[in-house]
Amino acid sequence: MVLKNKLAMGIAATMLVLPLAACGSNNETTNNQPANNAETKTNEGANNAANTGGETADAGTKLTGDFEIQYFVGGYGDAWWKKVIADFQAANPELNIKALGGPKINEQNKPRWIAGTPPDFVYIDGPELNDRQLVEDGQLEDLTEWIQTATNVDGDKIIDILAQAPQQYDSKIYNIPLVLNSWGIFWDKALFAEKGWTEPTDYQSFLDVSEKIKAAGITPFIHTGKYPYYINGAFLFPAIVSANNNDYTVLQDMAANKVEAYESPAVMTALNKIVELRDKGFIDKGSVQINHTDSQMLFLQHKDAFIANGLWLPNEMSKDVPQGFQFGFIPSVGQDNGGKIVANTSTATVAIAKNAKNKDAAKAFLQFIFSKAQASQWAELSGAPSNIKGDISASNAPSHVKDAAKYLTDANTVVIPTITYNADVDKAMQDASAALAAGTIEPADWVKRVTDAVKKAAK
């Protein structure tokens, strides 16, 4: 029910959805009944393969029984989930699929995970669900071996077509990235053209244009201070990598709770950049108290020229984008002149519960969704790049998604793989960054606070 209006925006989405009248945009009840038979199967020819192809334990046998899918509904909406579940249902009419989706589903289903009766398949995104924690808690099925040979419904090896490899925990794989997105800085190209401002390409040009913007009476930069992971993801982490000679292993060491990593000069350099923005008065003072939608509205209304955000932004705010507004995007602004652009990726992953009742169906579903057809559908319906390599440029995905894909595949871009921090350390970094940007602490305090949290977490 959440996403209907967003469909309207995906111009192209309509084209693909049209042949699928039966499970189109306003289909809210697809979940339990098999989506209407015959015509539905015109789609992609992928469906037949689901029953025959792949590495499923009982390849060729029909999937039966109950199959529960948990998916969080956030900035990407749920149009794709409804669609793909309907498709999968059509391909497996004897399977009783139960979709558990919503913006609060992580909280709502938590007791089931504790009780050992989780849903079979989970899409890990949103608050209160952390992949590292799920792994540590032994909640996810070990996919290390399976993924080495698993093929998708088209017969491609899944591991080969992933743009970003799965994160490893003690060299084991538990979850597979489905979405490949990027943090970064946005502006309105139209506004910049009108005012004659230069679009930033590196740190210096970012500072220069911010100066002009400020002189013109507009606040240069806003971030979502109530949730400081925005400024961390879009500004701080890429800046750390830039300052570390484009070597992102420093972030991986940070995630591995190595204190030295946090004390490295690269971290200090990056923190000092936030301080510089702060002291020059470029950061909107309102940032500290506002949430995503409020900060995004302020940005769209030109109260602020730049916003630290992620590529889901245009889709998320589609209804409120003023006429003539043109999103400009760069993954990072912390790099020196001539330095490489650093794209901090933001992925959302999927996994199978260790205590899943229907692992066969869950694996078959994995093979179903990691196909080219579903990948381009994801790009169209959710407005974000999927984690399947390649062919986005040919698809009907919105232009900013193609831009992002361009950045992420460019040889000159440093792509930071997804890194999940310990939840306590992450919270400490968020609190400290909010305080740093607001001016209540200095970089040394930031390091002190965070390393304290690291030491405690590492115990």
Partner: protein, 318 residues
């Protein structure tokens, strides 16, 4: 009932007593049991048992998501007292307790006196109005006050901007320190009605003759308040103060969570929000349970202390 009073009671009563004193006792016991046990059973299953179970978790290292828990004795408690955020939360909690007690009691007492002793024609109307915030969900109140405090589209800044040349853009919920002060107005605003009604009822219970006598002696409203009203409603004020304290310590969670989630930088963290943050956002359910125990212990301690303090107070006034 009129019929009953016509009976010759003594005779009847004696007869009943003589005839079945033994089985009467049994009957009484059965009756008491049948009225106490179902409720108690119900309460035990759905409130006491889960609470004790949660307290039990406070001795475990448990993420709240895993199926395994490690017994670690008092480690959660030791860690808790080393955590600077918990001290900040306790400080904020008691700030709210104190601020709410002062704010609510001052205003509620003033309103109660004004609406009973001042002969305002609209007293009934005011009384009805003032209680309204109490019937509205705290969630709704939190959302409304967020819009009041919003730096750009909020009511407060727009209002202040009427008097200034430049647009006012104060971040009401984003001060480096003392942001907790901003949560006091909604809490007081939402709490007054209940205590006002309580005090009104207490004042109405005071015999009018007391005031008449005082008036004859020439004492005015102000004097009457100190010599008659206040001493005679002190009992209800005590109940109110205790109640404010208790509901604040274990109930301020909702409004704080909806408005600031304890931020920025933990500056508005209270024990309840920190419990929630730890249990559901940072995956330390055992630690969160320990915070729950802390809330319980502090509530009990504060009750005892407040009761001591206020008992002495009564003596002085008397």
């Amino acid at each position: 009932m009129a019929r009953a009073t016509g009976h010759p009671p003594n005779l009847h009563e004696r007869k009943v007593n003589v005839m079945n004193s033994g089985s009467a006792k049994l009957q009484r016991t059965v009756f008491i049991a049948s009225f106490i046990v179902p409720t108690l059973l119900f309460f035990s299953v759905f409130t006491i048992y889960p609470t004790i179970k949660a307290l039990y978790f406070s001795f475990f290292d448990w993420s709240g998501m895993s199926q395994t828990k490690d017994f670690i004795g008092f480690d959660n408690y030791i860690e808790m007292f080393k955590d600077p955020i918990i001290w900040r939360a306790i400080g904020n909690d008691y700030f709210l307790v104190l601020g709410k007690i002062i704010g609510i009691m001052a205003l509620a007492t003033f309103f109660a006196v004004a609406l009973t002793r001042f002969n305002f024609k609209l007293a009934g109307f005011f009384r009805s109005i003032f209680f309204i915030p109490n019937v509205i969900s705290v969630v709704v109140i939190g959302v409304l006050w967020n819009f009041i405090y919003n730096p750009q589209i909020g009511f407060l800044n727009s209002f202040l901007s009427l008097f200034t040349k430049d647009q006012v853009t104060i971040t009401w919920l984003g001060f480096a320190d003392h942001t907790i002060w901003m949560l006091l107005p909604p809490a007081i605003w939402a709490g007054i009605g209940f205590y006002m009604l309580l005090l009104i009822a207490a004042i109405q219970n005071i015999p009018e003759s007391y005031y008449e006598a005082a008036s004859l002696e020439g004492s005015g409203q102000w004097r009457q308040f100190w010599t008659i009203t206040l001493p005679l409603i002190w009992e209800q004020m005590k109940v109110s103060i205790l109640n404010i304290m208790m509901t604040t310590l274990n109930g301020s969670f909702v409004i704080v969570w909806i408005m600031t989630e304890g931020g920025p930088d933990n500056s508005t963290q209270v024990m309840g929000t920190y419990l929630y943050q730890m249990a559901f956002r940072q995956y330390h359910f055992g630690f969160a349970s320990a915070i729950g125990v802390l809330i319980l212990v502090l509530s009990l301690l504060t009750t005892v202390v407040l009761q001591r303090l206020m008992r002495q107070e009564t003596v002085e006034l008397g």
